[in-house]
Amino acid sequence: MTTQRLAAATTPSSLTGEGSSQAAGLVSDGRAEPGGRMTGRGASKWVGLCFIAPLIAFLALVYVIPLAGVAEWSVTLPKPGVGQYERLASDPLVLSVFLRTFRICAIVTATSVAAAYAIAYVWVRGTRMQRRLTELCILIPFLISILTRAFGWLALLSNRGLVNSWLQASGLIDSPLQLTYNEFSVILGMTHVLIPFAAFPLASAMRAVDERVLLAARGLGASRLRIFWSVFLPMTASGVIGAALIVFVFTLGFFVTPAILGGGRSIMAAELVYLRMFQSPDWGLGAAVSVTLVVIVGLLMAALFRLARPALLGGAR
């Protein structure tokens, strides 16, 4: 039960879909019942406000107003003007960080969605035992802190770690391979973090596939590969798009995993913010990078809702 909730929880689009279709159904209920909607009776309007207002007010005060403050930093530090944004567009160091961020995010999105598809497939369609085992393999890492998992990769890949020890003991290599503190380890670590996030929307898309369509394809003599390739995969394509967008958005803002596994050598945009805040203070640039990230994520989310939402809704039917 929890897993289905988590599944919905990690798919903003699917939830909004659920919410809006339900809301549509409820509008008619409200009409059947006079005064049912908040806009109806005055008293119920105020009661409703008492329920909703605390959280909205809290977030406005603690989150949205300070967001404006951060945006202000980006145009006032160290001196007023759009100088920091000009630096973003011209400073080769900053540009290379953004380029690397997009490259890593694209690779991580591709690898984690592909891997998540394979494991979600067995999670949804396997036998009872297979379903339980895959569920454990997805949920255990999902619930363990990203710090612990990044450390696990260090334990596996560092110079005296498991892989290098084995390779040296078996005589395949003389000196340890440099497997950490580079882009390779950052990509491995981030893929590890994001596979569960991609698996949830993929699994709900796969659960929505009508079994009778697959049976029909089988009855018409299609091979297993053909059924997968021309029926199952297209029917879950909306889930793939949704998962890819979610993963891409999540990877953009990541900095703990890259900070540990990149060892300061392959810096990503989010880590640049951290460094500019606490190591070589340049708050204006940090704030400008933050604002840029928010804008990029906002555009991607808008794309998710414009493109993928009708597909996700349609795919569920």
Partner: protein
């Protein structure tokens, strides 16, 4: 009837599963090394790093701090989320989707930006009050409430979506007040959803690092913050020991849950 996955599909999934579990298993041998740096044990096994977790009071202190922050922030976040979700479900305000989207902001905005925002908020608050600002446990609690409230709201909204609205309509038709409807009709129907939300909120606060890193320095050292210092500044095998402890607890909890829950038919 469902055609079960082919051997090729099973092999691919097994590869992914191995990838997911490998780094978690790798910390076990590392945690047993007698050396003071990250290395594989060379013949001799030792529990000194587990001993270190007990002997060094920093660990107990940060665990207690994380527990306190987790409990307080998850209670506050669940209460706020519950009230909000009930309000949206019962009263269907105009622009409900927009309101829900607004509440989801801290989950959608990149974590590093949220960290920056909360750093700005708490350092501003420090100028007003020393007790709730930057690098205090109350300040971290406030920041965690912001970060975990979207997830709690989502889980409660999902639980509410499964409630048959007609029972609430019947109660209302029979003259129940909003409070009566909540206490006697709706809450009993979503209690597992609310519990799940509170538990998830606690777990998210317990392991929160991105924002905590920005809003603490020397006083409010939570467990993830202490682990971060051990991983990032110097690689300390005691981290492997604490990791093994956390992994074992998580695994036992999940396996236990799986054993007691009924399996859905398929």
């Amino acid at each position: 009837m469902i055609q079960r996955p082919s051997p090729i599909a099973l092999a691919l999934a097994a590869l992914v599963a191995a990838f997911l579990l490998a780094p978690l298993l790798a910390v076990i041998p590392i945690s047993l090394t007698p050396a003071r740096f990250l290395t594989m044990p060379n013949g001799e096994l030792s529990l000194i790093h587990y001993r270190e977790l007990i002997d060094n009071p920093d660990w107990a202190r940060s665990i207690l701090l994380s527990l306190r922050i987790g409990l307080v922030s998850s209670v506050i976040a669940t209460a706020l989320a519950l009230a909000f979700a009930l309000g949206v479900w019962m009263f269907q305000p105009p622009f409900a989707a927009l309101l829900v989207g607004f509440v989801m902001l801290p989950m959608i905005v990149p974590p590093v930006v949220s960290a920056m925002i909360l750093y700005f908020f708490l350092t501003s608050l420090s100028q007003v009050s020393e007790a709730v600002g930057y690098d205090t446990w109350l300040g971290v609690t406030l920041a965690h409430v912001v970060m975990i409230v979207p997830c709690a709201t989502l889980l409660i909204l999902v639980a509410l979506a499964q409630v048959d609205r007609r029972i609430d309509l019947a109660a209302r038709g029979l003259g129940a007040s909003p409070l009566q409807r909540v206490v006697t009709i709706i809450l009993p129907n979503i209690r597992f959803g609310v519990l799940t939300a509170a538990l998830m909120a606690f777990i998210l606060s317990w392991e929160e690092i991105g924002v905590t890193l920005f809003v603490t320095s020397v006083n409010a050292i939570t467990l993830p913050r202490l682990i971060w210092m051990g991983v990032h500044d110097n690689i300390d095998p005691a981290i492997a020991a604490i990791s093994v402890v956390l992994i074992v607890i998580t695994t036992l909890a999940l396996v236990g849950r799986m054993l007691v829950q009924r399996d859905e038919p398929a």
